[in-house]
């Protein structure tokens, strides 16, 4: 923590970066994103187990970018987001400096190559809890699964917290907001909710960095992240490509192999 604060002071003092996107104390023992722009505020920065949100979301926000070069306190998933955003031409090397928190240690990563290198050592496995849930679901009968999601998505109020918290949902206009045609009904109701979450999953297949921030963001506690995780895993299983692996674009859903193996097309 001190190391981080020191590094932040140094960077801001030297003007290397104009803002440090990091975690600060939130209500109770929660953590919230803070944007440190002055050396004297560097003390507000916190790193501990409670810091779980993927802050990469802010890297694409116009108002943040307007500040100038950004340093960001980065979890492994944040690093993946940075690479994926780079691959999608949303981030340039000179825009961002990653302060990576990898198992306790703090590492300053200035280049995408450095990030890729650092990630190489990090296993990209899901949390046991999530993996268990996915396994549990896949083990269910299709009817049970339908029931499960009907119940879960039935609670969705379409607040779009999942979308806003997702580092990859940076589109200025989302399919959701598209009204000619109105692909997804605005009102929150069963079918629309299902369609909405399907769209998110499909759009994140091959791009999801598996941070799970969307799930954490959901005010009514729907495990929406499972959908994107599942889609991502499906891509990985079938095509061996994964989101956030490299700053060079390798998007499974707009590439193909003539011998992609499938079993269901007659």
């Amino acid at each position: 923590m001190e190391a981080l604060q020191a590094k932040a002071r140094e960077l801001l003092a030297a003007g290397t970066v104009k803002v440090v996107i990091g975690y600060g104390k939130g209500t109770g023992d929660t953590r919230r994103p803070i944007f440190v722009r002055a050396v004297e505020r560097a003390g507000d920065l916190v790193v501990d187990a409670a810091c779980t949100q993927n802050l990469a979301t802010y890297l694409t926000k116009a108002e943040v970018r307007a500040l100038g070069r950004m340093a960001i306190v980065a979890l492994p998933s944040t690093l993946r987001s940075i690479l994926q955003l780079a691959a999608e031409k949303q981030l340039r090397e000179e825009n961002v400096l990653a302060l990576a928190v990898i198992d306790g240690g703090l590492r300053e990563l200035a280049t995408f190559d450095a990030i890729e290198e650092a990630l190489a050592t990090v296993p990209d496995a899901l949390s046991d809890a999530d993996q268990k849930l996915i396994d549990k679901l896949t083990a269910m009968s299709v009817t049970e699964r339908r029931a499960f999601w009907a119940e879960e998505l039935g609670r969705c109020v379409k607040c779009y917290a999942c979308r806003s918290s997702c580092p990859m949902c940076y589109c200025e206009r989302c399919t959701m907001d598209c009204n000619r045609p109105q692909w997804i009904p605005v009102a929150s109701h069963a079918i629309g909710n299902l369609e909405y979450h399907m769209v998110r999953a499909m759009h994140l297949a091959g791009r999801c960095v598996e941070c799970g921030t969307c799930g954490k963001a959901c005010p009514v506690g729907i495990p929406v992240h499972l959908l994107t995780f599942f889609a991502e895993q499906s891509v990985r299983r079938q095509f061996g490509q994964k989101g956030g692996a490299s700053a060079k674009l390798d998007y499974a859903m707009s590439t193909f192999k003539p011998d992609d193996k499938e079993t269901f097309i007659r």
Binding site: L137, T138, V142, T143, E144, R145, R146, A147, F148, W149, A150, T175, Q182, W183, P185, A187, H189, A190, I191, G192, L194, E195, H197, M198, V199, A201, M202, A205, G206, L227, F230, A231, S234, V235, Q238, F239, A252, M253, S254, T255, F256, K257, P258, D260, E262, F264, I265, R266
Partner: protein, 145 residues
């Protein structure tokens, strides 16, 4: 006395192979069940997964998706991209509890008029056996647009 259930089938096909194949079914006067409504698109690559979702939310009991065989795509690779999309989309449909027996994927070339007829009949019969897709229609019934 209620009428026996007749499924609503929606088909998304590419213009160059399957649509042409279905034309051939016609010119060769091969009969098949009239439940299916065909939506013609230039290429399977154009078939947005949103369309399939919409088909269901609009009350289709079954969906057929068909295009050129691999290697025969009029646009050289549209069907390869489509295939990938379906491979993931189908996984996902299953994951959210959509009954995959209601979604039929196929390659039907411009020469396979007979195959088209078989495909439609088989898919229609399967769905007829499954009955109306209440689960989704109930969701939809809550009211859209």
């Amino acid at each position: 006395m209620v009428d026996p259930f007749e499924p609503k089938m929606t088909a998304f096909v590419c213009n160059w192979c399957t649509y042409a194949g279905a034309d051939l079914t016609g010119t060769s006067r091969i009969k098949y069940q009239s439940n299916v409504r065909v939506i013609r698109l230039p290429c399977t690559g154009r078939i947005d997964f949103m369309m399939v979702l919409k088909a269901f939310s609009r009350g289709s009991d079954g969906v057929i998706i068909s295009g050129c065989h691999p290697n025969d795509c009029h646009y050289t690779s549209g069907n390869y991209h489509a295939r990938r999309r379906w491979m993931v989309f189908r996984d996902l449909l299953d994951f959210v509890g959509i009954d995959l027996r209601r979604v039929t994927f196929s390659w039907v070339s411009a020469a396979e008029g007979a195959k088209w007829a078989e495909l439609v009949n088989e898919a229609t019969n399967n769905v007829r056996a499954l009955g109306p897709y209440k689960e989704i229609q109930q969701l939809a019934a809550v009211g859209i647009d």
